[in-house]
Symmetry: C2
Subunit: 225 residues, 2 copies
């Protein structure tokens, strides 16, 4: 395998990227349900059958878009969470949560694709789960080195098991009881953003910024930040 990619290889990579970019434009414009391979091909001036050399199926294109979406949010959240002088743990956490919500509001269709109901059946692709773990792990990293909460009760064995799994995945310096609470906060954050985006609040709190901020602060309280 040559170090310098051949012209073929370069063209292939470029076209793959172009296809993904066009697909992403259409996704952002009209949502995942309306994304059609033929439309993407038309936008690129290709025959629809040509796309199948780059993505074997429509689902594969969608998973590529999912991974891209996960990585995109993760970049935003990780940047907001990074420790800096004079930045409290609480500010890092709430900043990360706010960055997550802001990204979702800017990219509703991509958020729906990644964090919403799975489109066909259930996809347990390892690439997506790895990319999807970045945001929760980034938020968890804020808690590294904290003490176990004072009210830490004994965990059910199944909960302890799950917490151990999470700890192995990245939060080595976080006590198990706090990991459980953190997981609860993560699902709560997902629920907050999903509710707002998918209209589950029926626009009761609208504009929802105040409600979102209050909720995020409450999460920080619960984590003892």
């Amino acid at each position: 395998m040559p170090v310098v990619p051949s012209a073929r290889e370069r063209a292939r990579r470029e076209l793959t990227a172009d296809i993904l970019a066009a697909a992403r434009r259409q996704l952002a414009a009209s949502g995942a349900a309306a994304l059609s391979l033929r439309a993407v091909a038309r936008e690129l001036g290709l025959a629809s059958s040509a796309l199948y050399r780059y993505f074997a199926t429509r689902d594969e294109l969608l998973t590529a878009l999912i991974v891209q979406a996960y990585d995109d949010v993760a970049d935003a959240v990780e940047a907001a969470v990074v420790p800096r002088r004079g930045r409290s743990r609480r500010a890092r956490f709430t900043g990360g949560c706010r960055a997550f919500r802001a990204w979702a509001l800017e990219h509703p269709h991509e958020y729906a694709l990644a964090h919403g109901s799975p489109v066909p059946g259930y996809r347990g692709d390892e690439r997506t789960t790895a990319a999807g773990a970045r945001v929760p792990l980034a938020l968890l990293s804020v808690l590294e080195g904290m003490d176990a909460p004072a009210t830490s009760s004994r965990l059910a064995s199944q909960l302890a098991e799950g917490a151990a799994r999470v700890a192995a995945a990245g939060g080595g310096q976080v006590p198990p009881a706090l990991i459980v609470t953190a997981a609860q906060c993560w699902t709560a954050l997902l629920g907050l953003v999903s509710s707002e985006l998918f209209g589950q609040l029926a626009n009761t709190f609208d504009p929802a910024d105040a409600f979102a901020d209050a909720t995020i602060e409450a999460l920080a309280d619960r984590l003892g930040l």
Copy 2:
């Protein structure tokens, strides 16, 4: 208009119900994305064009299914929440939450259709929002007559506005600060169930019963139950 429906009218109602039942079967079996009018027509032995006299469009059939799903969960939750001798507020609340989760686990595709990402564009149909409000209102009804939490802080004006709207919609006997907390718990519950169903927890806590129970108890704690 005759009091006794004519034969025509009866046939019409019956066929409408049959169509809905068949559609629901297919929804439960294969999900909303795979639901096709033609397949429903085939199952009923009809021409596909015949369905259009009963549902003008596929989306209308879907919204009918959404309303049905909302009403179905609401029945389950309301039954679990109803006050009975020797049943504490806390038990009513946690029971309602558990009933919600149990229904979702039994009807994943219907849950995804109703509470997941909206399928086409955004549907703000009034029938769906009215039906969708039943479950949160049922949970809110458990809190009627409670005192405002001790740590009740002054609410931002926008939050107070939203709380007032909710109070007008059904929770007349619940203090505003508690309404905000209740709304937060509602989004958290949605996030819990959605995460579990859509694989956002990446099977970290699996089986998730213990995690769900712990989360629901934490919500009850937060509400001061």
